[in-house]
Symmetry: C2
């Protein structure tokens, strides 16, 4: 299968590395010539160009749009003149509702995708062929989605070693708001709250004493600002709803502590310990 | 030096293991005979008893009270008849203000301590001799603290491989409220918010898709309920103040998203990324 990857960042670069390794013919497109040169040097792509028009000569059966979220629809629109009638297109955006329906209207052979993998570093220099191994790869078909798009994407999911998860765009967005977007906001607020401590001795002490608990709770809030902003902008309704629900629980904790209702807090913490274990990622690794 | 350790859980057991390994004569006290037998079998202690009175025959120069927080003062009170005039006493409680002054009044050779180390598992079976290596060990002398207590504790800190940090009980409690106690409350609220999602398909999807970001942000909220309760009860004022400050920042985020004020959110996330790097624990390991 001939594949084109538009956008050679961490995700696009990692997909390119793995697909090339698995014997696929991969063409890369990056606006940045240096990124193209890096992709070629890493052996991630067989050929690379800086213009979408160059993709036409490659005649790919699958085009993966791996740009930042706000570039997905503009990129697809700009790609349309260069796609052949049977070319399947997918994206890797972390929010699906604003993309899937308009993209399917632009190109009926579109299906939304979201490989759930990441790193704290960005760019093709951080790319890893095995980034997706064992990770969920969400596909979000809608009623209008053509079956052949799913066949090709399922092959992709299998080849990169991921686990295919099927859902609709709205449910995807609400689920990732819970487990990915809300954590960024609550973690960022933790960092800022501590950092605005007015007693400089306490602030310095807090920084000195911070250990693995603080490191873990603050990690996603200290991440790449553009990603947090993208989540909030493009998944605004779900993030807002989840923030409000979250604040109610936090307010309840404050009330228990304020009123010294220790039974309430105790039962709550016992419940969170039980609920925490319901997440496969929190279960002990075999 | 002859040392007695009262309470052979994770912290007491780890201190006992290290001190025995370093050639000190360690006597253990646990209310639970099985724990004594385990401590002896592990080689953590040279002798062990279930009664505080047994400590008298050991005539220790240092007694470390490693019980849960609410047992520190009752244990010290019960110990008084068995201490010789020169015995130094310290504790390992995670909150210092409620303990240090009353304990010093009970026994002038008392100094508060807090070795900042932990694990997700409890009990002597989880003990590790090197649990404290490279970790901060806070000592909280007050005006009444006798100098010889600090000399002995500084020896202890050095022997277990920790880094001594000196501060007063109030500042200790406010700093750990920021970096240890507040994270538990915000992490627990995250777990419960997600777990109370009313659409079972979204809940299941959220659990399936949760990955390292959620795992890290939710970790301390899924921990041992008694520890979270202890923090809130005994460090109530600092935890309440921090919860309130935290909620203001979260409310600000909600407002930016609600009003689509993306510049505000963007600057905030850039700031949290910078602030995050100010914590030594978040800096790349050499």
């Amino acid at each position: 299968m001939r594949i084109a990857i538009v956008g050679l960042g961490l995700i696009g670069g990692s997909l390119a590395l793995k697909l090339t390794e698995q014997g696929y013919a991969v063409f890369g497109i990056s606006r940045n010539l240096m990124t193209c040169e890096q992709a070629l040097a890493l052996g991630a792509v067989q050929a690379c160009g800086t213009e979408l028009a160059q993709l036409q000569a490659w005649d790919p059966q699958l085009v993966l749009i791996c740009t930042p979220l706000e570039q997905v629809l503009p990129t697809l629109t700009a790609l349309l003149p260069y796609l052949s009638a049977e070319t399947v297109v997918s994206d890797v955006g972390s929010v699906k509702q604003p993309i899937v329906r308009p993209a399917t209207q632009l190109w009926p052979l579109f299906v939304g995708g979201h490989p759930m993998a990441g790193k704290t570093t960005q760019g093709i220099q951080s790319a890893e062929a095995d980034l997706f191994v064992g990770r969920p790869y969400v596909l979000t078909p809608i009623a209008e989605t053509r079956p052949q798009t799913l066949e090709i994407l399922q092959e992709l999911v299998a080849v990169v070693g991921a686990e295919g998860v099927f859902t609709d765009p709205a449910r995807h967005d609400r689920a990732v708001a819970w487990i990915s977007h809300l954590p960024v906001m609550i973690s960022a607020s933790l960092i800022t709250s501590v950092s605005q401590e007015v007693d400089p001795v306490i602030l310095e002490l807090a920084r000195t004493l911070a250990s693995s608990g603080f490191r873990d709770t603050s990690r996603v809030g200290g991440g790449i600002p553009q990603l947090g902003l993208e989540m909030a902008r493009h998944n605004r309704q779900a993030v807002l709803a989840n923030l409000r629900s979250y604040q109610q629980h936090l307010q309840q904790i404050e009330t228990w502590i304020e009123k010294e209702q220790w039974d309430g807090l105790s039962q709550f913490l016992e419940q969170t310990q039980r609920e925490w274990r319901q997440f496969p990622v929190n279960q002990p690794q075999p």
